[in-house]
């Protein structure tokens, strides 16, 4: 079965474009803001939006996203409220929405119920940063029944055995973590990213998206030349944090996203 993510990547490929995947923490600073952001970021050029589900103990995240999670929790953004927001958004936009959630939030919700309700609300995929495919066995049935892709991550430390194992379990795309570290760190070594993306391509036909450490339009352009998707998180969350009390917050963040997409388009040789 092809998912909405599959179709999005296929369409972009036809147009000779790469996917811009933007991360925002749902509920930061409020769910109303997130709702507006999703609509405006799509207009600004985002192809897929990753919505963070806030968690009290985000072990894979640096301070920028940790603080966003704290703000979101203070604003009352539970998984249930996030799913309702997504259902509302579906009257306005069909952009693919991928949830990024630490597993305990799903476990507490009840995995079976979660997949049903998430698919119904209009979620298009799930990324669990603290659940490698080794632990995801019990989720596969419910995820497949709901038609929700489970997206797994690879890292610079992954061995070749794990590269094959993880890439074959992943659906929608493979998320390559560009650096040995947590979100918000600085992108160090583009040559290394290129080499590893090449190795992943040898074991899967899935699109490969690169995230962690992509902060500027220049970074985005460089990564777009290597991968099928560019994931930008902390850099966007930082803008949201800086402008969160100002009326022009959404507009400002949309401008930043537009600059990312523009840089990515310029970097692509027009084809197809």
């Amino acid at each position: 079965m092809t998912s909405k993510l599959d179709r999005t990547f296929a369409q972009l490929r036809q147009h000779g474009e790469k996917a811009l995947i933007t991360y925002v923490m749902a509920g930061d600073p409020s769910l109303q803001d997130t709702e507006q952001l999703v609509v405006e970021l799509e207009k600004a050029g985002a192809d897929i939006i990753e919505l963070g589900v806030p968690f009290s103990d985000p072990i894979a995240d640096g301070p920028v996203i940790q603080q966003a999670a704290e703000r979101a929790l203070r604003s009352g953004a539970s998984l249930r409220a996030i799913l309702s927001m997504i259902a509302r958004l579906r009257a306005k936009t069909q952009i693919p929405l991928v949830l990024m959630a630490y597993y305990n939030t799903i476990h507490a919700f009840g995995p079976e119920r979660f997949f049903q309700e998430a698919a119904q609300a209009g979620v298009d995929g799930l990324i669990l940063p603290d659940m490698p495919p080794d632990e995801a066995g019990p989720l596969k049935g419910p995820a497949a029944a709901a038609g929700l892709p489970l997206i797994f991550l690879l890292a610079p430390t992954s061995t070749s055995a794990r590269r094959t194992f993880v890439a074959r379990q992943s659906q929608g795309f493979v998320y390559y973590v560009s650096l040995t570290g947590i979100t918000g760190a600085k992108l160090l070594n583009l040559a290394d990213v290129e080499k590893n993306v090449g190795k992943i391509r040898k074991v899967t036909k899935l699109p490969v998206a690169v995230g962690f450490g992509v902060a500027t339009p220049e970074d985005a352009a460089k990564v777009a030349a290597i991968a099928d998707g560019v994931i930008v998180g902390s850099a966007i969350v930082k803008q949201i944090a800086a402008y969160r009390e100002k009326p022009e917050m959404v507009k400002h963040v949309a401008e930043f996203v537009r600059s990312l997409k523009t840089a990515m388009r310029m970097a692509q040789p027009k084809s197809g």
């Binding site: 103990d57 072990i59 305990n104 507490a108 603290d130 490698p132 632990e135 040995t180 947590i182």
Partner: protein
């Protein structure tokens, strides 16, 4: 005797596992392999035994607490004196083991988290002795209540890094150590301090601590010619408790009781009694009983003792409880403080506030037992580190 858990996936029944970012997976798999190798390696085991004997001071004594026994008027109370270990708590049994492992894996840098500061001090000590670079993460709330241990770690040449996130206690220190490990994994070994985290940590740390129970079993057989009726230990993550229990798991007649931090009382919500107030969930790499809200956010905890002030419990304890092999209870801050005074005055031993929880529960059960019965209580650490905090609580300036 080794029990058959965990399985190859690191599962203790429904609990345990490896819920970590992919970046850490290769390191955990490597650690698992390396640990499996040294477990069977004679030279590693004899080196470990050497340091435990000559550096830590093992075996620690199993001391018959005559005056406490008399005062309680019931079962004979024996104290397993982990407070007599070098650096003052059982934590060093594990730190030595993992320090040797880090050396074998040629990692020049080690990191650790600490709550009460005892694991931090033990790790800093081992780092100094083995010539390793060491950084310890500690919540800023804990740095305040355990200021003496912070200074000890610095005297030993370690860097202590304050963690100002969340509840500013042990849980946040572990998250920060995991982030450091994720970033510096190629040069760094993470010496986790309790039977927590992802596989193989809960198993490996249990094995390193199980010397406590192996000694106690031999010692009680020598002293009394029979096994004890009951074992009691406090449970933070659960390493001193599993360390004592492990050698007795197959002795079905030996009852095992873990004592959690009841804080201001379970009804107050200000506590760390995971079995009384929690349900299974995933925190920091493992599936286990966890104090959490309805939507899976981890609750803030409270205990007078920093070493018990944590929202999750080691996965093997969740398993032992489900199996009905061990039981768990809690005592309040006030009960632990009262037990501290009694042990100090009756036996001339100041227990760590963590260990005082085990003593407090002993004071409840010993009087209800027969004089012919035997209790073994793990005195996991000494109370010197808590003296300042106790003075503060009593309004005394030192």
């Amino acid at each position: 005797m080794m029990s058959s858990v965990p399985n190859k996936q690191g599962r203790f029944g429904a609990y345990g596992g490896r819920y970590v970012p992919e970046t850490l997976m290769p390191a955990l798999l490597e650690l698992e392999q390396e640990y499996a190798r040294v477990k069977k390696d004679r030279s590693f085991q004899s080196e470990l035994a050497y340091y435990l004997k000559h550096y830590v001071g093992r075996p620690t004594s199993l001391y018959f607490a005559q005056r406490l026994t008399k005062r309680l008027g019931g079962a004979k109370v024996y104290l397993k004196r982990e407070d007599l270990c070098h650096t003052g708590a059982h934590k060093i049994n594990n730190a030595i083991g993992q320090g040797l492992l880090a050396k074998r894996m040629k990692k020049p840098r080690i990191i650790a988290e600490t709550g009460a500061g005892q694991h931090g001090v033990a790790t800093a000590t081992v780092a100094a002795m083995f010539g390793l670079q060491c950084e310890v993460y500690m919540g800023t709330e804990d740095m305040q209540r355990q200021a003496l241990n912070v200074f000890r770690m610095r005297l030993l040449g370690s860097t202590v890094t304050g963690v100002d996130a969340g509840s500013r206690t042990l849980k946040d220190a572990i998250s920060e150590a995991m982030r450091d490990w994720t970033t510096n994994i190629r040069t760094t070994h993470y010496i986790l301090g309790s039977v927590l985290g992802a596989h193989p940590y809960p198993m490996m740390i249990r094995d390193f601590q199980s010397i406590i129970g192996r000694e106690a079993r031999r010692q009680i057989l020598a002293a009394e010619g029979r096994l004890p009726d009951c074992l009691i230990a406090c449970v933070g993550g659960g390493s001193n408790a599993i360390g004592l229990f492990h050698a007795f798991i197959k002795d079905k007649k030996v009852k095992m009781i873990g004592v959690e931090a009841g804080g201001m009382g379970v009804a107050s919500g200000k506590h760390a009694a995971r079995f009384a107030g929690g349900k299974p969930g995933v925190l920091q790499g493992t599936m286990t009983y966890l104090l959490q809200g309805e939507d899976g956010q981890v609750n803030l905890t409270h205990s007078v003792s920093a070493g018990l002030d944590y929202a999750a419990i080691g996965p093997e304890h969740s398993y032992l409880r489900d199996q009905g092999r061990a039981e768990y209870t809690s005592v309040t801050d006030d009960e632990a403080m009262a037990a501290f005074d009694i042990l100090a005055r009756e036996e001339g031993i100041m227990p760590a506030l963590e260990s005082a929880h085990a003593i407090a529960h002993t004071m409840k059960v010993a009087p209800r037992m027969k004089k012919s019965q035997i209790l073994v209580v793990n005195l996991s650490g000494r109370g010197d580190k808590d003296v300042q905090q106790i003075a503060n609580m009593r309004g005394i300036t030192l």
